[in-house]
Symmetry: C2
Subunit: 150 residues, 2 copies
DNA sequence: GAGTTATAATTCGACATCGAAAGATTAGAT
DNA sequence: ATCTAATCTTTCGATGTCGAATTATAACTC
């Protein structure tokens, strides 16, 4: 984004930080992703399984919140996970609008196998940063995420 | 990614930094994106137009490198831009394997209109961080991006 | 209890994304 | 000159992504 438009020094600094941020995520993601492919999982599928493993069975709306995706999207991801028999849908008895999603035994086995490797891959990526650098990165990113001043 | 798996303190710190990083990008992107929609552009379409505006006409392979996407993907994005008459394809005369992509007048006009707003939106997001924080973020992200030690 | 409003999930259409395979073209080797 | 390898683009199939409209259900109001 270092554009031909005239920008002040301050704007250039902000833009540079932004571009670096985007590129870092792009490259880190690219290096981590292959680990998931070996388990036959896409990124979103992994995130859904992980959320179910961590929080227990959830309704689809909650899954969407956890992995920061739209409900419409969750439907298709769950569809594909169900085809692979990694999760099971269950229409709630009390309120029939809700669909609760459960891990199957198969799904639980897979995520228990994939998760440690995934964590290891992430740690491997981040350890290029020192302890204090990791903490500083967390702090800065949290500020960007919240940005309530907006 | 704070998982139920046992992780050491060091792993937890690395994971936390990673999750913060991902979420920050997710939220910042979400807040910036609406600006593009007002110009009828998707994220990728904008990136392609911007690359052409910045570097001049490029062949598709180069566009793919600039915006960090696969060549297969570029084909469809350019297809959609061409439908809107924002870019023009031209088979290279010297080496007919290459397709050079040019901005049309329409495309140039649009990107000149959209770019400043986009930059403003980014600056608005990043200015929650101080000068030195922006610089530190750039430095940390650059380290993550390169990570040649791998 | 009938009508309104709210919420959960799905469907639909458009676009993005990638890997793999295919097609076209060039460059290099012999 | 011909064969081979490399390179650029496209096509194909699968998945993901979203907003908007739709369906099903529940809760609320009067």
């Amino acid at each position: 984004m270092s554009t031909p438009h005239k920008v002040s020094t301050e704007q250039a600094r902000a833009l540079n930080a932004y571009v670096r941020l985007m590129r870092a995520v792009e490259f880190v993601t690219r290096r981590i992703s292959p680990h998931l492919a070996t388990h036959g999982l896409t990124w979103s599928q992994f995130e859904v399984l992980e959320a179910l493993n961590q929080f227990g069975s959830l309704c689809q709306n909650t899954v969407a919140e956890k992995i920061l995706k739209s409900p419409a999207n969750i439907t298709t991801v769950i569809d594909n996970l169900e085809k692979q028999k990694l999760v099971r849908r269950e229409r709630s008895a009390e309120d029939r609008r809700f669909v609760t999603v459960h891990l199957t035994e198969e799904g639980r086995r897979l995520i228990h196998e994939a998760c440690p490797r995934h964590i290891a891959a992430i740690v491997e990526e981040m350890k290029i940063l020192s302890k204090s650098e990791q903490e500083e990165l967390s702090r800065l990113c949290r500020k960007l995420e919240l940005k309530e001043g907006k």
